[in-house]
Every structure is written in structure tokens, then in C-alpha cells.
């Protein structure tokens, strides 16, 4: 009987106590930091939306970002997506919508803003991507994203909005040494923009 206690009861009791203590500790820390983490995530999303709309914001200042965001940007639910828009004299002047897809190494989440007449890309930004740092990962660098500002969508019907130079009709530079990532990004942006415009026109 004594052997049974030493072999089973004590270890089980000990494990339960250790588990309980660590769990309470973690639950407490989690409770204390939930707000900070939620705020960080929200700030990141807001910065992205402001960036694609080409609205200036002070980076790192969560309060100021929130202020500017609520002042300019409104949102609505369409299907299972949240679409953001800005108004100019009570008329919607631009939309920002999420575009998701798969690139070379993993999934890519991006936001694209286009004018409400569907004629112009205002900006793009990547929320998350896992491309090779220094190669495909350079899609997150400013020089790459800035190329899309003011890109004319015009009367293109077949969804080939973005074409890399030097192909005929090219309007954006891809990343040398990261052809697969560049192509994947082109495909997912073209597809995302095409789908958004057709959905909006269909509504």
C-alpha cells in the first residue's frame, strides 16, 4: 500500500499541483496583456489600411493612428469580408479590400485600395507573408509597394492589370532573383482586384 502511494498517488498529486500553479500564472499574465495585444493587432491593421489609402500617419503612435483612422475610414461587411472605404463629400471615393493567396513559400495576406470608379490602384500593402528575406521578402519593401500607387486599371477586361516590365504593356518592376514570388504576387493581385470589381459591379 505504501509502495502504491509512493508510485502513483504522490506523482499524480505533484503533477496536478504544478500544472495548476503554472496554469494560473499564465492565465493571469494572459489576462493582463490581452488588451495590449488586441491594441497592437488593431494598430497594425489600421496602419495597413491608412497606408493603402495613402493617408499619412505617425508610425508607432497607437492613439494618433486610431484618431486618424476613425476620422477618415469607414468599414462595412460584405459577405465574410470586411471592406474599408473613404468618403469624399458623402460619396465613397475609394475602397480597400483584403486579397489572400499563396506565393512561393506560404500564404500571403494583402490589402489593396482602388478608387471608387475602379480606374486606379491607390496602394497595396502586405499584412503577412513568409517569402525568403532579402529576395521574395522584398515585396514588403517600400520601393516595391510604392510602384502600385496610381497604377491605371483603365479598360482592361481580362484581369491582367499588373504586368511586369519588360513585357509589352508592363507597368511594374518585378524582383530579380525572386521570379516565382513576383509572379505569384502578380497573379493574386490581378485575381483579387478582378474579383472585387466584378463583385462590386454585380451588386
Amino acid at each position: 500500500m505504501k509502495d502504491f502511494k509512493r508510485k502513483y498517488i504522490l506523482p499524480i498529486l505533484f503533477t496536478i499541483i504544478v500544472t495548476a500553479v503554472t496554469t494560473f500564472l499564465l492565465a493571469g499574465i494572459n489576462y493582463l496583456t490581452t488588451d495590449a495585444i488586441a491594441l497592437n493587432e488593431e494598430t497594425t491593421l489600421r496602419s495597413t489600411i491608412l497606408y493603402v489609402f495613402n493617408i499619412d500617419y505617425p508610425s508607432g503612435d497607437a492613439k494618433k493612428i486610431e484618431e486618424i483612422f476613425t476620422q477618415h475610414v469607414k468599414s462595412k461587411e460584405v459577405g465574410d469580408k470586411t471592406i474599408y472605404y473613404i468618403e469624399d463629400r458623402n460619396e465613397i471615393s475609394a475602397y480597400a479590400f483584403p486579397v489572400d493567396g499563396v506565393a512561393l513559400w506560404g500564404s500571403v495576406h494583402a490589402y489593396v485600395a482602388i478608387s471608387s470608379d475602379y480606374n486606379e490602384i491607390l496602394g497595396i500593402d502586405f499584412v503577412s507573408q513568409s517569402e525568403t528575406p532579402g529576395l521574395g521578402g522584398r515585396i514588403s519593401e517600400a520601393w516595391f509597394k510604392e510602384q502600385f500607387r496610381g497604377l491605371k486599371l483603365g479598360d482592361i477586361q481580362d484581369g491582367e492589370y499588373i504586368v511586369y516590365r519588360p513585357a509589352p504593356g508592363g507597368n511594374v518592376d518585378g524582383i530579380s532573383g525572386a521570379t516565382l514570388t513576383s509572379n505569384a504576387i502578380r497573379e493574386l493581385l490581378n485575381k483579387g482586384i478582378y474579383e472585387f470589381i466584378s463583385e462590386q459591379r454585380g451588386l
Binding site: 504544478v18 495585444i37 497592437n40 529576395l135
Partner: protein
Amino acid sequence: MDKKRVKQIFKSGIWDDNPVFRQVIGICSSLAVTNLLMSSLIMGLALTFVTAFSELTISIIRKFTPKHIRMVVQVLIISAFVIIVDIFLKAYYPEMSKALGPYVGLIITNCIIMGRCEAFAQSNPPISSFLDGIASGLGYTMVLLMIAFIRELMGFGSIFGIQLLGNWWTRWTIMVMPPSAFFIMGVIFWWARSKTEKKEEKKEGGKVTA
């Protein structure tokens, strides 16, 4: 505790028994996060924190822990500290949390922590265990920073994100990719081992000192 013991613990953790180039453990993350110095530094500090406090906790409860479930208890305590680091980074350093990605959670699988808990904290008093954790963590951080220094300088031309080499520098793409860590790590092992070669001959049989 006397000064000699403290010095011995640190010397052993950082050089004589360095977890990376002497014990060859904790290699996975040394390869994964070392393309930027900042990520390497944060990773090293996170590991040092987890190792030190896990060793401290395990050493405090070592006398009450039933021997045959001690590994279960160790994993439990280590994972608790890893989650603390993860939450802390998410709340107060979100960019770094994003940059390190899954590797923060994977600190728990870093053999250094469990290795030190089992080899040292199980049989030593709390304060020396805590110091041993710090020493091992610093040894690991040191190697990470050495690899990251070479990789970031040649791959991005920068140090801690500050651009040092101008446009004339052709960035070595290979340095940004994981394989380069293998080469650099190999060279560092070679250099470190050649420095300690004589000692190795003396203690034939490869006795592992705790």
C-alpha cells in the same frame, strides 16, 4: 557561494562547455533566426530568460519532485516560461514577435534548456542553477551573434539594421538564406575547437562535465 564557483559556472557555460559549439545542441534555431542581428539578440535573450528561470524553479522543487516524473515536470515548467516570453513579445514588441514567428514557441524544443535542467538543475542548489542558466544562455547568444554578424553584414550590408556598406557592396543572397548558417557555423566550430584542442586530448573519453 564563493566567487570561484561563479566564475567556473560562467566559464563553462560560455566557453568550455558552450552549448552550441561544444555540446552541439540548440542548432536548429541558430540556423533559423541568424540572418539579422536584432532577431538573434532577442532570441538569445529569450532563451537565456527561459533557461535561467526554468533551472531556478526546477532546482527549488528538485527535492520534492518524484524522480520518475521529473521530465514531465520539467517540460511543464519550461513551456510555462516560453509562453510568458511569447505573450510578452506579442504585447510589448509586436514587430519582433512577427519577425521571429514560430521560433518563439519553438524555444521549448531547444535542447539547451532541457539539457541544462536535467544535467545541472536536478543536482545543484537554486542560485548556482540560475547562474548556470544565464551562462548557458549567454554562450548560445554569443554564437548566434557571431553567425548573425557575418550573415547580416554580407547579406544586407548592415549591422543591427544600420546600413554600413553602400551601394558598391553586392549583397550575398546566400547569406540571407539558411544554408549559409551551416557554413559559418562550421567555420566557427572549427575555430573554437582548434582553440580547445589541447584540453580535449587531456580528458580522453569525452567526459561531460555538468
